[in-house]
């Protein structure tokens, strides 16, 4: 009985994800904040600096998974709240967790898909090599899920459009780039910076991706995996809490 209920909830989550893929993947805000933004930020930091390509590819992979995965929720949920299509989920016989899981899966697939572009580019053009497939896969997958859940959490902020959610989200996303060892390796950061970077989920993304593509990690890979998994759960549950608060308030 419980198993059939779980299977049904998972099917509904997948249906929501598939619907979101169809409607929101090619929307202008998704393309702008999910693809254009990380690629252009990457280029603006890399061009003119003498960064070896072996260091640059992991940065681009981490940055794309970070931005792409966390963009779909903040695009879809505010639009659906404005058009009241989100009410369809709230009045459907499924749990709120299932609805948010569906939305998270849509962000997860977007994040993984976009981050594969620099991986493939690196392998095919810049002679990058995958030295630890498990680390790379876990790094991309866990990060995509966690950042998608982070986007869902921010999307629960009351607002009428994606722009109103993107503003506070970018207020968090952009500073995270500078404390997460993306452009300056963690080992080169001052001690307070290393502490801050340990708390940032993006640090653990770049660590695992670097490890997967032949680089070194500052923290133990198991620590990276554990912290990313904890963040994914925390973001999802926090998003759920915020949505329940909205239901009480609205």
């Amino acid at each position: 009985m419980r198993r059939s209920r779980l299977a049904r909830e998972l099917k509904v989550a997948w249906a929501i994800a598939a619907k979101d893929m169809k409607i929101y993947y090619l929307r202008t805000p998704s393309l702008m904040f999910g693809i254009l933004f990380p690629f252009s930020m990457f280029l603006s930091f890399v061009i003119g600096r003498n960064m070896p390509i072996s260091r640059a590819i992991p940065v681009l992979v981490a940055q794309t998974v970070f931005f792409a995965a966390s963009t779909i929720g903040p695009v879809s949920i505010p639009m659906e709240r404005r058009l009241q299509t989100f009410d369809r989920f709230l009045s459907a016989p499924v749990s709120l967790l299932t609805v948010l899981l569906g939305k998270t899966i849509a962000g997860f697939i977007y994040g993984v898909g976009i981050s594969l572009i620099p991986v493939v580019l690196g392998l095919s053009i810049f002679n990058s090599q995958i030295t630890d497939l498990v680390a790379l896969s876990l790094g991309v997958a866990l990060s995509a899920f966690g950042f998608a859940a982070m986007g869902i959490m921010f999307a629960s902020l009351p607002g009428q459009g994606p722009g109103q959610v993107m503003m506070p989200l970018n207020f968090v996303r952009i500073p995270l780039l500078f404390v997460s060892g993306v452009y300056v390796p963690v080992k080169d950061l001052p001690s307070w910076g290393q502490m801050a970077s340990a708390a940032s989920p993006l640090t653990h993304t770049i660590e695992l991706v670097r490890l997967g593509l032949g680089g070194e990690s500052f923290f133990e890979p198991a620590v990276n995996v554990m912290i990313l998994a904890v963040y994914a759960v925390v973001f999802l549950l926090a998003g759920m809490r915020f949505h329940i608060s909205n239901q009480k308030r609205e």
């Binding site: 249906a15 619907k19 409607i23 299509t85 709230l90 009480k248």
Partner: protein, 331 residues
């Protein structure tokens, strides 16, 4: 009688503002229950709480015995909802909208496709089922929205202002459909601010104003509560006289209301007023075009209970919009 909806002390606060104020009522199986009230009275907020979209501040509601908060999945499986705006996915086709709704309700592929075909035929949308809804008219989107609410073969259908803003043909089609579905056993919870619609379609009506229920009864019983509101409706051939003021001063006339080229004279004694009107027309050589007598309408009951009227009336000092007639009823 079997209660399919039970509501007790249901309350909703938005900050300090009380939008729905401790309302209680029951809806019987198979009836069309109207929720009538002006804009901002609390109709939509009530529907949102009953369908699990919004969480009540206090009180409880049960759908066929299932508490909407504690057994929300079981309760939601039994209902379909048509909100005040057609919340369809305009980027998707009618077919995709319906089958996606079927997926939300956990229907199997064959079941949801069969049901989608059946509903698209019923709503005369089958030929255009693969077109995106952005190419549909507002009336067609409304029909898709209602079809989506029926996908799960619900026992209770919540309709929030289903005909608001639609053309006459769409209104007629949708009213006929609702009647047909109710005839087939569906319980309908209908919110509207359209009194004619409520009077014509509902078995019972609750009148809500400022978040409180002012009266609940059948349309005819509600009209009886306003028996003193009989009226005589007259119209004259065009003249320069100030007929409105002169009619208002006529013996037996309590109030007058101008409705286009007609005047409605409210009175407790229609025969005497008819006689006065006849004498007045002869005396002033006016040609009467129309003479009708009316019993109290649902609109009269609504005005009496809520104090909200559509046009100002003359006479008796009670003609301001939004001011009550001061004879409230709570049955």
């Amino acid at each position: 009688m079997e209660h399919v909806i039970e509501v007790s002390e249901l309350t909703k606060y938005y900050g300090d503002f009380c939008a729905v104020d401790h309302i209680s009522f029951n809806v019987e199986k198979g009836e069309v229950f109207g929720f009538l009230g002006p804009n901002g009275a609390g109709k939509t907020t009530t529907v949102r709480m009953l369908t699990g979209i919004s969480i009540p501040s206090a009180g409880w509601a049960k759908i066929m015995g299932h508490d909407i908060r504690k057994q929300s999945v079981e309760a939601k499986e039994l209902m379909g909802i048509v909100p005040d705006t057609s919340n369809v996915y305009t980027e998707l086709s009618a077919w995709d909208n319906l089958t996606f709704t079927g997926q939300l309700y956990g229907m199997s592929k064959s079941d949801r496709e069969g049901r989608a075909n059946e509903l698209l035929e019923m709503f005369e949308l089958h030929d255009r089922r693969h077109e995106k809804l952005e190419d549909y008219s507002r009336g067609m989107r409304r029909r898709v929205c209602i079809a989506m609410a029926l996908m799960n073969r619900s026992s209770i259908l919540f309709l929030d202002e289903p005909t608001s803003g639609l053309d006459v043909q769409s209104v007629i089609t949708i009213r006929e459909l609702i009647g047909k579905l109710n005839h087939e056993g569906l319980t309908v919870f209908l919110t509207t601010h359209n009194m004619e619609e409520a009077s014509r379609m509902c078995d019972r009506i609750a009148i809500i104003n400022h978040g409180k229920i002012a009266a609940i009864d059948t349309p005819e019983m509600l009209k009886r509560t306003a028996e003193g509101l009989q009226s005589v409706e007259v119209s004259f051939e065009a003249t320069n006289r100030d007929i409105h003021d002169e009619l208002a001063r006529m013996p037996g006339v309590e109030e007058t209301l101008k409705q286009g080229d007609k005047f409605r004279l409210y009175t407790d004694d229609p025969p005497s007023v008819l006689s006065e009107v006849w004498d007045y027309a002869n005396r002033n050589e006016l040609k009467l075009i129309t003479v009708n007598t009316h019993g109290p309408s649902l609109e009269d009951v609504f005005v009496k209970l809520t104090g909200i009227r559509e046009e100002p009336r003359k006479g008796g000092g009670r003609g301001m919009k939004g001011q009550g007639r001061g004879r409230g009823v709570n049955r």
